[in-house]
Amino acid sequence: MAAGDESALATLFTQWADRVNTVAFWMLQDHDEAEDVVEETFWQAWRNADQFDARRSSGSTWLMMIARSRALDRLRSQRRRTDWTASASTTSTLREQIAARSSGAPDSGGSKRSAELARALEELPPDQREVVELAFLGGFSHSEIAAKTSQPLGTVKTRIRLAMGKLRERLLSLREALDELP
């Protein structure tokens, strides 16, 4: 794609459009906005293909990070326009969404990863889970989360760091387990 091969972009779109739409939809809760994010994501991937470095991240992570950035831009823009503060229902369902995904095909690696992440989220203390959900799906900054949860800024930072550390450990152990499979 970095060489300007349009067919590579078409293939990428076919394989990943649904996943990109998923991230955008769960963050924005609006189909039209999510579709705009899909378009912007693939457009940016096309334009910046030469910046992708396979040694630094996987292609899927790179694409998901672009999608999240574009969705976050829209979330922030919405908030500036409407002084919008997400209701709890917008951001409290990360666990359920991942659990729903993990119950799909029990034997696939992706599904195992989802199941493990769902379990890891389930096992997080509620206060840590809450801040991760607000940050991941709501795109709220530290100070916004502190205001929403009525907690000191330092506490919010610590909770996010602890929660992400636990999720990461779980993912690492799962990756090792999958690597050991015959």
């Binding site: 998923t22 769960w26 693939f42 795109g139 993912l171």
Partner: protein, 171 residues
């Protein structure tokens, strides 16, 4: 503040950086530190992989078939209007960055060599030094201008992208 303390503060912010929730004033020092700290680079990368995994683990919200086809057409049309930026190698970027200084150094060397051989002026060394300083100032000014030009090009690029979106919404 000690570099150890700065490192500890940055480590605290890496999860938020990976989640993309830092404001620009918070993010810039984090990225500056990460560029010079291999440990933080690895940590940030691992956290980004985690965020990517969380995104991939969400329950799928598939696009409707005709909507997907329409979107695909929109994306492909957009790429045809504005092709991908050409790949520029790191060597070319480095050469571009240092070429001005190399020319300045070459001119200064020429000037000093000429004076060493011919001694055309009474205060030739002083003149050469003044010219050398002038070249350095000129180089710094050119570097400043280059940054401004790059910033302007980015603004123009963003403007072009916005125009693309506006024209699309008129379609």
């Amino acid at each position: 503040m000690s570099s150890h303390r700065i490192h500890a503060d940055i480590v605290e912010l890496l999860p938020a950086a990976a989640l993309g929730i830092l404001d620009r004033p918070e993010l810039e020092p984090v990225l500056a530190h990460v560029r010079s700290c291999p440990e933080c680079t690895r940590e940030l990368q691992a956290l980004r992989e985690l965020v990517g995994s969380l995104a991939l683990a969400l329950a799928t919200e598939p696009l409707e078939k005709d909507r997907a086809a329409h979107l695909r057409t929109r994306v492909m049309n957009r790429t045809r209007r504005r092709p991908a930026l050409p790949r520029v190698s790191r060597a070319i970027i480095a050469a571009e960055r240092w070429s001005g200084w190399m020319v300045a150094a070459g001119l200064a060397t020429l000037l000093l060599s000429h004076h060493a051989v011919h001694e055309p002026l009474d205060y030739g060394w002083l003149t050469a030094a003044v010219l050398g300083v002038a070249l350095v100032i000129l180089g710094l000014y050119a570097r400043l201008l280059r940054k401004r030009v790059i910033a302007l090009m980015n603004i123009l690029d963003e403007g072009a992208a916005t125009c693309d979106e506006s024209s699309r919404s008129l379609e």
